[in-house]
């Protein structure tokens, strides 16, 4: 009965799609590594630029900066140049250029992503974890931490199940980008990227120059309105004469406090050689009452900390975005992995094909359907 039911399946329906060629037979175009990158990132200019998948608020940040600065240069600068000095647009221009360039660098630079472990490395780590206990009878998940002593402090290195590595110190896995990032500070939605080891100095330059720019525009606009409202004209007249200044005033007033605050906070972090992540978690502040805890990475000198964070050597990008994916590895391993399970599938197809969800191999359907029934019977009796 079972045989008949399966024979009723129209072989034409199965034969219609052309047999999917196995990867090693298909002439593949050589791909760059960014095309097969496992994290949630987007790449532009053939892998030259990297940004998080959700670059959400970056256009807003850019838009606000461009709009406010544009209005400033168009509506306020002419008046101020006439009444004060022509240095004002010059200073404004320099600050504006600093802000835009450092913002773009923060957004499009690799923050220090750690590439995921190769399968051999992952297997080696698991072997090292299993070896000490020597027992493999009951399944035990690999231990998640490894301790290391840095500068007389015990630091726990956590195992990342996604990247299959023990994370180096100060590295954290960003769930938004799905990558481990070295010296992870935070994921900034305003710049649309993680802030880590490689782009922290761009981020710091951005927020410092932005706070100067915002404060500068705020000061200039206030001066502009003050000058206009002189001579008994009043503020209302000044605002009517220059409505754009009102918009700039509002934007700058609300942003200057938060940006100045952020700059101050990051200046403290730089001076103490801390990351936002460590500060928020209180890793080294001794909040638990343990007075022995201190930051093992600090040089105990503000100047040295600042210099090492901001003027230190620029580390290279560890993800080789523009390199080519080697095709020889896939050729060596895939034939063995695809063909053997397919052979196994042939025999068990009757019993499990529907539920397993695997596609039957592209062999002549009549032969495939008849044979397994017989082999299953013999299999069950054996």
């Amino acid at each position: 009965m079972k045989n008949r039911e399966y024979q009723q399946i129209d072989p034409q329906a199965l034969a219609t799609p052309p047999p999917r060629p196995l990867p090693e037979h298909m002439p593949k175009r050589v791909r760059r590594k960014w095309e097969v990158f496992p994290g949630k990132n987007r790449f532009c200019c053939d892998g030259r630029m990297i940004v998080a998948r959700q670059s959400g608020v970056l256009p807003l940040t850019l838009g606000l900066i461009l709009l406010t600065s544009g209005l400033f240069f168009i509506f306020d600068c002419p008046f101020l140049v006439k009444h004060l000095t022509s240095c004002i647009p010059a200073i404004g221009g320099v600050l504006f250029v600093f802000v835009i360039i450092s913002l773009l660098q923060t957004s499009f630079t690799d923050p220090g992503i750690l590439p995921r472990a190769t399968p051999e490395e992952a297997a080696d780590i698991e072997k090292q974890i299993d070896n000490p206990t020597g027992s493999s009878s009951s399944y035990r998940p690999p231990p998640r931490t490894k301790e290391v002593v840095i500068n007389q402090q015990v630091v726990k290195l956590k195992y990342c199940f996604t990247c299959k590595i023990f994370r180096p110190p100060r590295t954290s896995h960003c769930s938004l980008c799905d990558n481990c990032v070295e010296r992870f500070d935070h994921h900034c939605p305003w710049v649309g990227n993680c802030v880590g080891k490689r782009n922290y100095r761009f981020f710091y330059t951005f927020i410092v120059s932005l706070s100067f720019l915002t404060a500068f525009i705020f000061g200039c606009v206030t001066t502009h309105l003050a000058l206009r409202s002189q001579g008994g004209n009043g503020l209302v007249f000044a605002l009517q004469a220059s409505p754009a200044s009102a918009l700039e005033l509002v934007v700058c007033f609300f942003s200057v406090w938060s940006i100045l605050g952020l700059s101050g906070f990051h200046t403290y972090l730089v001076a103490a050689n801390l990351t936002t992540n460590e500060d928020i978690k209180g890793s080294w502040s001794g909040k638990s009452g343990n007075e022995d805890i201190g930051n093992p990475y600090s040089y105990n000198s503000i100047i040295k900390n600042c210099c090492s964070v901001l003027c230190g050597p620029m580390p290279p990008s560890l993800i080789d975005r523009r390199g080519f994916v080697p095709s020889d590895d896939s050729v060596q391993t895939s034939p063995v992995e695809i063909e053997l399970p397919a052979a196994k599938n042939d025999r068990n197809m009757v019993g499990r094909a529907v539920t397993s969800g695997r596609r039957p191999p592209p062999s002549p359907p009549v032969v495939t359907l008849q044979q397994p029934a017989i082999s299953i019977q013999s299999h069950s009796t054996a």
Binding site: F202, C311, P313, E339, L340
Partner: protein, 165 residues
């Protein structure tokens, strides 16, 4: 049933071959986040290479990385100049770190030619592994493993054709 046995043997062979094939030297974090590799001699290499040669290679690599990451006069100058040019200078010139990385590649190639290839080993540049590990590969075993895998696969495919009556 025999297919399962073949699969099991193949997986075991692959597992043991992959472990015998590659040895990984992990990072040493006792000095913080600077790039440094453990100089502990792995037991798998005991019969393959002299301990002193191996330790010399790893120590030289560690020295190269320490030089690349050194915070001193030259790095401050580079950093300040970069800050003044809004870091656009990184797009134009090669940084000191990149120069040292090139020296490291050259050193590893030289070591492979002179020391490791005569002993049937190959060192992979850590930059190709995200600076996580220095991997040592056995040259002969990789060839043997491939041959074994092809023969097992051939046996399996012939067996699958024969078994259905």
């Amino acid at each position: 049933m025999t297919t399962e046995l073949f699969l099991h043997n193949l997986q075991e062979l692959r597992h043991s071959a992959s472990l015998a094939n590659k040895v990984f030297i992990q990072r040493d974090y006792t000095d913080g986040t600077v790039c440094k590799f453990q100089t502990k001699f792995p037991s798998e290499l005991e019969s393959r290479i002299e301990r002193t040669l191996f330790e010399d290679t790893v120590k030289t690599l560690n020295n190269y990385y320490a030089e690349a990451e050194k915070i001193g006069g030259q790095s401050y100058l580079e950093g300040c100049l970069a800050c003044l040019t809004i870091y656009l200078i990184f797009l134009c010139i090669e940084t000191r770190y990149e120069k040292v990385l090139k020296n490291i590649s050259r050193y590893i190639q030289e070591q492979n030619e002179k020391v490791y290839a005569p002993r049937g080993l190959l060192i992979t540049d850590p930059i190709q592994r995200g600076m996580r590990v220095v991997s040592l590969q056995s040259l002969q075993t990789s060839v043997c493993v491939c041959e074994c895998m092809w023969s097992v696969e051939a046996a399996c495919s012939s067996e699958a054709v024969v078994s259905p009556p």
